[in-house]
Every structure is written in structure tokens, then in C-alpha cells.
């Protein structure tokens, strides 16, 4: 065996690339190629899923998802269609004509750098291409090269570069290292919505069949059965009834929800994860108890059985279709208005895009709480009210009998889920609810909450286990603030109002803060609600002993 000299060994161990992680780039961003390795990219969509979308979801839009095929990001041949560069450039032209916002965002950035250090991906990685300004530059450079006079004449000197396979790889790498959380947009003096640049980047990638399975398969499930999980009506109903069994065991109260009931006053829609996956199911138990408590005339739908809209992470057409399903069902059932559960991106689509896609929902009535008489004029166009707004209004009017001591085993903090916080301004209502249903509540530091909230790091369909390392570093700024309140106030419960958060923050805490659990705000409401005729509660909704009942 050859004897390796110590200095050589040092160099080879410290600098050589590793199969596990790879090396840190040290060149200018322009010259650093995107390299795909196990763990740094999400798996591409299965061929049959793209076939499904092509044939079933959008038979009238051929080419929206490129040619269904198998491909491997780690190779240098992605089986792209002939003339794929032209497809991308034509797609960009079409979108520049269609969306004035995109044209403005491409032109008006002055590279002031205000956004640069606001992205959780940048803060967790130090990778300059995760600065929002640079992530936008990946697309902007192509725009300059082909759509501006300066770029056409001067090319690279004017910051332009042609659409090449290397650029395409960068797009796939970095438009899937953005969770469209819009924290950077809060700090942009021009109001550039960087999330929309990512959205367009992903739309363009779809045109040549570059995509990820964790988005495309739930979207296919949602198109087929109405929800991401692919639950058929009987399973959806059975699952909710299982939750009713658990509620009965804990409280002695039997909830009797109805399904697909025509003529109900309210249609309730929430993410399917609340019906099927922990810890969302405890949030769903909270909803069920709340509605029973106030005697709400409402129905679940086994077709509009999903609030989440993976179309937001795909393209405009998908977003419109998945949003439209909720309103089609509201029309079919003849309800007056829609009550929405603790979901993230459903609310962004609703508040910021729906009116020009499917809205306004004129066939519904402006939501009015049948219990308090409050008219929710803020939802005059969408006709859909957030469960936290609805609950806060009930508490404000003294309509709920609450015993916050039942949450004394919880020391809670609140994570402002990006979309409800930044896309609909839902900042005070969940806090008002929390302060009324639990005695121990502590805020995380000011620059990590409200409009400045840090993303969970795994939104926009990045909640897939093959990129766990990437998710952990993207979620670091959020976890870091949770760690602070855990150490300072012994916080043991991270509450939020988003189903993706409930799943992703659970993993994030498993790694960074293993003592902190995750819940929806409505779970804590359910714990605190004093139901008429209930038995003495010994446990919370997840069968955990209440304070003083541990023995």
C-alpha cells in the first residue's frame, strides 16, 4: 500500500468532493455550475403522473407539462424535447405579454440588496444563488439576453446570457430552493414579489417536462379524488368518524358531522392532512368540537376535500382548476358561504389570485356568522372566512365556554404561517384565540414573526424526505427562534395555522428542538372548549394527560 504523505492526505480529506455532501463553491455565481447529487434535489415526477396530467387534468392544454418521460437530474441528458430552448423562450414571451407584473419585476430591480439576506435558504446555506436578487437574476439574465435591446446587442456585458442546459439546471436547482414565502418581498422597496418569479420559473420548467413528484402526484390525486391524499369519499368520511370516536372517548360528547349535505348554511373546507395525518388530525378534532359547541349548520364535502392547492406550486392553469373545485362544490350544495380551515397556500390563492381566475364568487352570500351576526366584509369577494377569524369573533362575543387551564400542560408559541400572515394579513386573530384558550403563551423574537415570519423551510411542495438536509438548513432561522423561546420560557408547543407547517415543523423540531411539539391553533381551542354534558377531561385531544392528571 502506498504511503500517503500527511499534507496530501490533509488536502484530499478536507477539499475533495464527498459523495455525501459535495464541496462548497468558491467561484463567482455565474461560473458555478449546478450539480445534482443525492440529497440536494427532489425526485422528478413519475412518467405516469405526467401522463395523467396530460390526458386527464388538462387534455385541452397539450404541452403544459412537456413530454411524459423518465429522466434523472444527476445525468447530463434529461431527455429534453428537441428545441427545448425555443419552448422556454416562447413560454417566457407569452408570460411577459400575459402578466404585467412579471414584466415589471424583470425590469425594475435596482439591485439594492435589501432582499439579499432575508431569505431563509440563504441564511441557512450562505449560497449566493439563494439571495432572492440572484435567484431572480437566473431568469432575468435570460430575459435581458432575448427580450431587451441592450441584452440583444451587448449580451453578457449587459448582464444577459443565452438559455443553455447549464441555466436550465440552475433553474431546477434554485426555483426548488425557494418556498415562495415572500419574506424577501416585505423588504423590497419596489415590492417585487420574488415568489412570482419562482412561480414563473417553475411554469417554464414544466413546459419542457422538468418537475418534481412531490408536487405533481398530490396535484394528480387532488384532481382525481378531490384531495392530495387520494382519499375516496368513503375513506374521507370514515376517517372523520374515527376522529369523532376519539372525541367521544376523551369528552363523552358525540359529534355528528354531515357530508355533502345540500342546503347546509356553511361548507367547511380544510387540508386533507387534517383528516388523515398527525398532528393535523388533532386540529380537525378541534374543528369538530367547535362546530358542535356552537351548533353550526355546516357540512363537509368529500369532493372539495382539500383546501391545499398544489397548483400554486405548478402553474396558473392548475391553480385555477384546483381552486375552482371548491367553488363548484359550494354551488352544487347550495351553501351560503365557505368556512376555511387552517391551511397555508389555499389562502394565498384565494386572496391574491382567485378574483381574476374564478372569482368573484357572486353566487354565494357575504359570510355572516350565524352565532354572532358579524358580517365578514373582508371576504365580500371570496365568500370564504378563515377559521381563526371565525373563532376570534366567537370569543370576542363571549359565545364560547372556555377553560384555558386545560392547556396548562402546554407552553405555547405561535409560528405565523407565511401565506396567512403575508398574503392575507392574518396576524392578530390567531394570537387573540391563543391568549384566550391557553394561559402560557410567549412570542418568538420580533424579527422572526408576523410580516417578518421565517418560513418552515419546506413549503411549496418541498416537504419530501429525500431532501431532508436541505429542509433542515432552510428551516434553521425558524428553528433558531423556537430554540430561543424554548430555552427562555420552556416553550414546548409550536402552534401554527397551516397543514404543511404542521408536518414540516414536526420534522424541523425533531432535528433542532426535539422537546417542542407542533399543533394547530384549533387543537388548543378544542382542548379548552367546555362542552355541554361532557365528562371530566383527563387528557387532551392527543390522549396526552392534562396538567395534574399525569398520575
Amino acid at each position: 500500500m502506498a504511503i500517503i504523505k500527511a499534507d496530501k492526505l490533509g488536502v484530499s480529506v478536507a477539499k475533495g468532493p464527498s459523495l455525501m455532501t459535495g464541496a462548497v463553491p468558491k467561484n463567482d455565481w455565474w461560473d458555478v455550475p449546478a450539480t445534482f447529487k443525492p440529497g440536494n434535489y427532489a425526485y422528478p415526477a413519475k412518467k405516469e403522473i405526467i401522463e395523467y396530467h396530460t390526458q386527464k387534468t388538462f387534455p385541452s392544454h397539450p404541452g403544459l407539462f412537456g413530454q411524459p418521460r423518465d429522466w434523472d437530474p444527476e445525468t447530463d441528458d434529461w431527455n429534453l424535447p428537441d428545441g427545448w430552448e425555443k419552448i422556454i423562450l416562447n413560454g417566457l414571451k407569452e408570460r411577459l405579454d400575459k402578466f404585467r407584473s412579471l414584466k415589471i419585476f424583470m425590469d425594475c430591480c435596482v439591485r439594492c440588496g435589501a432582499c439579499a439576506d432575508k431569505c431563509h435558504f440563504f441564511l441557512g446555506t450562505g449560497d449566493p444563488k439563494n439571495m432572492p436578487v440572484l435567484r431572480a437574476e437566473l431568469l432575468r439574465s435570460v430575459y435581458r439576453n432575448d427580450f431587451t435591446l441592450g441584452g440583444k446587442i451587448l449580451g453578457k456585458m449587459a448582464g444577459g446570457r443565452p438559455m443553455t442546459f447549464g441555466v436550465l439546471k440552475e433553474w431546477f436547482m434554485y426555483y426548488y430552493q425557494c418556498t415562495e414565502c415572500r419574506r424577501c418581498s416585505v423588504f423590497c422597496p419596489y415590492g417585487i414579489d420574488t415568489a412570482e418569479i419562482t412561480m414563473i420559473g417553475r411554469e417554464l420548467l414544466h413546459l419542457v417536462g422538468v418537475n418534481i413528484n412531490w408536487i405533481m402526484e398530490p396535484a394528480a390525486n387532488s384532481n382525481r379524488t378531490g384531495n392530495h391524499m387520494g382519499l375516496q369519499p368513503h375513506t374521507f368520511k370514515d376517517n372523520i368518524e374515527y376522529l369523532c370516536d376519539d372525541i367521544e372517548e376523551i369528552t363523552g360528547i358525540r359529534c355528528n358531522p354531515t357530508f355533502n349535505r345540500k342546503g347546509a348554511e356553511v361548507l367547511f373546507i380544510t387540508p386533507s392532512a387534517d383528516v388523515f395525518a398527525e398532528p393535523g388530525i388533532y386540529t380537525a378534532m378541534g374543528y369538530l368540537l367547535l362546530f358542535e359547541h356552537i351548533g353550526l349548520d355546516y357540512t363537509w364535502s368529500t369532493y372539495a376535500s382539500e383546501g391545499g392547492n398544489f397548483g400554486l406550486f405548478t402553474n396558473n392553469e392548475m391553480m385555477k382548476k384546483l381552486n375552482g373545485k371548491m367553488y363548484a362544490e359550494a354551488k352544487r350544495l347550495g351553501v351560503k358561504w365557505i368556512l376555511g380551515g387552517e391551511c397555508g397556500h389555499m389562502w394565498r390563492v384565494l386572496h391574491q389570485y382567485m378574483d381574476t381566475m374564478n372569482g368573484p364568487a357572486d353566487f354565494l352570500q357575504v359570510p355572516t356568522s350565524p352565532i354572532t351576526g358579524t358580517r365578514f366584509d373582508n371576504a365580500a369577494s371570496t365568500k370564504m372566512v378563515h377559521i381563526s377569524e371565525f373563532t376570534a369573533d366567537l370569543i370576542k362575543h363571549g359565545k364560547l365556554k372556555l377553560d384555558p387551564k386545560r392547556n396548562d400542560h402546554r407552553i405555547a408559541t405561535y409560528h405565523d404561517s407565511c401565506n396567512p400572515a403575508r398574503a392575507m394579513g392574518l396576524l392578530e386573530e390567531p394570537r387573540y384565540v391563543l391568549k384566550n384558550v391557553c394561559n402560557n403563551f410567549h412570542e418568538m423574537p420580533e424579527n422572526t414573526i408576523r410580516e417578518s415570519t421565517f418560513c418552515c423551510g419546506s413549503g411549496t411542495g418541498l416537504n419530501t424526505d429525500e431532501i431532508m438536509e436541505l429542509r433542515m438548513r432552510a428551516g434553521l432561522p425558524r428553528a433558531n427562534a423556537v430554540k430561543y423561546v424554548r430555552e427562555k420560557h420552556e416553550v414546548n408547543m409550536l402552534s401554527c395555522v397551516c397543514a404543511i407547517d404542521r408536518a414540516t415543523l414536526t420534522s424541523l423540531n425533531n432535528y433542532w428542538n426535539p422537546d417542542v411539539e407542533v399543533c394547530g391553533v384549533s387543537e388548543l381551542v378544542g382542548n379548552a372548549l367546555v362542552m355541554e354534558g361532557e365528562k371530566e377531561r383527563e387528557t387532551g385531544l392527543r390522549f396526552e394527560p392534562l396538567a395534574g392528571m399525569e398520575g
Binding site: A14, M20, P128, T225, D465, M468, Y484
Partner: protein, 180 residues
């Protein structure tokens, strides 16, 4: 001058250089920001590196309490264990410190072999501890991934239709009952 005295007298400069060199392991633009921003929530990486290294240095070379270093190092190593470093680069701090102290010895003409042995022993404790913490972090990462898979999160993509699964499970359960 003895090395132990140098480590106390020039503590600030040694630590500044140590922190600077550790943060230089990040890409240039990231590294510049990690070095500059002071707010611990706006800059979790820079803050963790700086606070960990200062605390560890005090425990090893001022207070002589090496048993306390685990708690100080935990967050920094946990961060580096999920970043795109080679494992050796992720936990290279002890070796970087040796290099930094060697430079100061040269500059100040400190030739104290016994002192160097005592220093190196402590630097080695640092290296071993970081290696243990790194491996523990990687194991925690894999456990997190396993826990997520077990939680059913992947059911949206990898399990086929849950309704069909439940149907398939139901007859099997009945069959088992009959056999018993």
C-alpha cells in the same frame, strides 16, 4: 512567554482570527454576511459560530473546564452537519485553531514545547467532541427522516391509493379472525 499566557493575553485577536477563518469556509458572499451581521435571529449561522467558539475557548483555556464544551458546540455542529461540507471540513475547527495559534506563536516568538503539548491535548478534546457531535447530528437527521416516513407524510406520493389500501387490509383482518 509561555503559551498559556499567550492564549490569555491575545485571546481577542486569536478568537477573531479563528472565527474569521471558520466563517471563510462558506462561499464568499455568504461568509461576508455571516461575519458582519450581529443579530442572532437575522444571522443564525454567524452567531452560532461566534458564540460557540468564544464559549469553548473560555472553557478550555481560561477556566480549564473541558467537560462543559459539549453544550457550547452543539448548535454549531448541528448546523454544519446539514450544510454542504465534507464531514472533515464541517468539524475542522480544532485544526483551524491549531493553525491560528501556531501563527501567533511564530509572531510572538513563543517556543514552549510543554505548553504546546498541553494546548494540543485540549485542541484534540475539541476535535474528538466535535466528531462525536457531528455523528450524533447525522444520526438525528436520519432518525428525523425515518420518523417522517413512519408518520405517513409520504402517503401522498408513494403508497398508491389509501382508500384501496384500507380495502385491501380489511379482508385480511377478517381472515385472521376466522383462522384464530
Amino acid at each position: 512567554m509561555l503559551l498559556a499566557e499567550l492564549l490569555i493575553d491575545r485571546k481577542g485577536e486569536i478568537l477573531d482570527s479563528w472565527v474569521d477563518q471558520v466563517l471563510t469556509t462558506y462561499p464568499e458572499d455568504g461568509s461576508r454576511f455571516f461575519k458582519k451581521e450581529k443579530d442572532q435571529f437575522a444571522n443564525p449561522v454567524g452567531y452560532a459560530v461566534k458564540s460557540s467558539l468564544w464559549a469553548v475557548y473560555a472553557l478550555l483555556f481560561e477556566k480549564n473546564e473541558p467537560e462543559g464544551i459539549v453544550a457550547c458546540l452543539d448548535q454549531m455542529v448541528r448546523i454544519r452537519a446539514v450544510q454542504t461540507f465534507n464531514p472533515s471540513e464541517a468539524v475542522s475547527m480544532a485544526y483551524i485553531l491549531k493553525r491560528v495559534v501556531k501563527d501567533f506563536c511564530r509572531k510572538d516568538n513563543v517556543a514552549d514545547l510543554e505548553g504546546w503539548h498541553a494546548f494540543e491535548e485540549k485542541a484534540d478534546i475539541l476535535a474528538y467532541t466535535m466528531f462525536d457531535l457531528y455523528v450524533a447530528s447525522r444520526e438525528r437527521l436520519y432518525q428525523t427522516r425515518i420518523a417522517e416516513i413512519k408518520s405517513g407524510n409520504h402517503i401522498t406520493t408513494d403508497s398508491g391509493c389509501p382508500s384501496k389500501l384500507m380495502d385491501e387490509m380489511a379482508p385480511k383482518a377478517e381472515l385472521k379472525t376466522i383462522n384464530v
